[in-house]
């Protein structure tokens, strides 16, 4: 279904907005969990771009499959990163990223 509004450019702009918001979360948040949420936003932005290009510009479905693999990578990343964050909390009693600086001292 392609109309005047639903075009490739509108999907790309949505993806760009999601990507920028994710980058902002990663750069400016103090809490490690918020940074992980920003990473999820970035992965979703990439997914939207893949599927949009597949839909508007291709006769194959490769973008959909790549999006599925990005799901897998996002799940693994969330699990391992959460384990790391919980370990940091156990050792330092904080998850604020600017207080986790024992390597700098």
């Amino acid at each position: 279904m392609i109309t005047q509004v639903i075009t490739l450019d509108s999907f790309l702009i949505i993806g760009a907005a999601l990507f920028i918001l994710g980058i902002l979360a990663v750069l400016t948040k103090r809490n490690a969990i918020s940074v992980l949420m920003g990473i999820e936003l970035i992965l979703n932005a990439a997914n939207i771009n893949f599927v949009a290009f597949t839909f508007f510009r291709s006769y194959e479905i490769h973008g959909v499959l790549i999006a599925l693999f990005i799901f897998v990578i996002g799940v693994s990343e969330a699990a391992v990163a959460l384990a790391i964050v919980l370990n940091i909390y156990r050792n330092m009693q904080t998850v604020n990223l600017d207080e986790v600086d024992s390597l700098k001292k």
Binding site: I33, N44, N47, T54, F56, V64, A79
Partner: protein, 168 residues
């Protein structure tokens, strides 16, 4: 403006607005619930791209799995004494400058790039049906499929190994 346009704009507004809430909200539980709406919005956008399998997978994996995991993480890493879980931000100025610069760059690329345009508009004939995805996974994408399974196994074992307690 057709009805589908209005629904599309609604989903786009939900996605981007909730993502903005994730970034700018002060409390981490609010941010987690805003992330849920944002992921739902992305699932709706997948439906507009006629990738309905991907939309279902998005709801199951992201909303049902990753989001609950993040919420558990947010609630486990909080001292019980502190009532509100605030997520203050640091380096707001540099972050904003970088964000706006990247936004301008990406928008310039989107507007000025001249994308490949096929002769026939594929949007009308394309359908990412589930049987196509399954067939591709078992033929052309067999090696990435197996590598993904090994990655999942490694992530599972690694997370469990890291999170176990030291004292037996």
């Amino acid at each position: 403006m057709a009805g589908s346009d209005i629904v599309f704009l609604l989903f786009a507004a939900i996605t981007i607005g909730s993502a903005a809430l994730v970034v700018f909200s002060k409390r981490i539980t609010y941010a987690a619930f805003a992330l849920m709406f944002s992921l739902f919005g992305v699932a709706g956008l997948y439906v507009f791209l006629s990738a309905d399998f991907l939309a279902a997978a998005q709801v199951i994996i992201y909303v049902g799995g990753i989001l609950v995991l993040l919420l558990f993480g947010a609630l486990l890493t909080v001292k019980v004494s502190s009532v509100t879980v605030t997520t203050k931000s640091t380096q707001r100025i540099w972050g904003t400058i970088t964000g706006i610069g990247l936004l301008v760059l990406v928008l310039l690329i989107i507007i000025r790039a001249d994308w490949f345009v096929p002769e026939k508009d594929p949007g009308d004939i394309y359908f990412a049906q589930s049987w196509q995805i399954g067939r591709q996974l078992m033929t052309e994408y067999l090696l990435p499929f197996e590598i993904a399974s090994i990655l999942l196994l490694a992530a599972l074992i690694g997370a469990m190994f890291m999170i176990r307690s030291e004292d037996k």
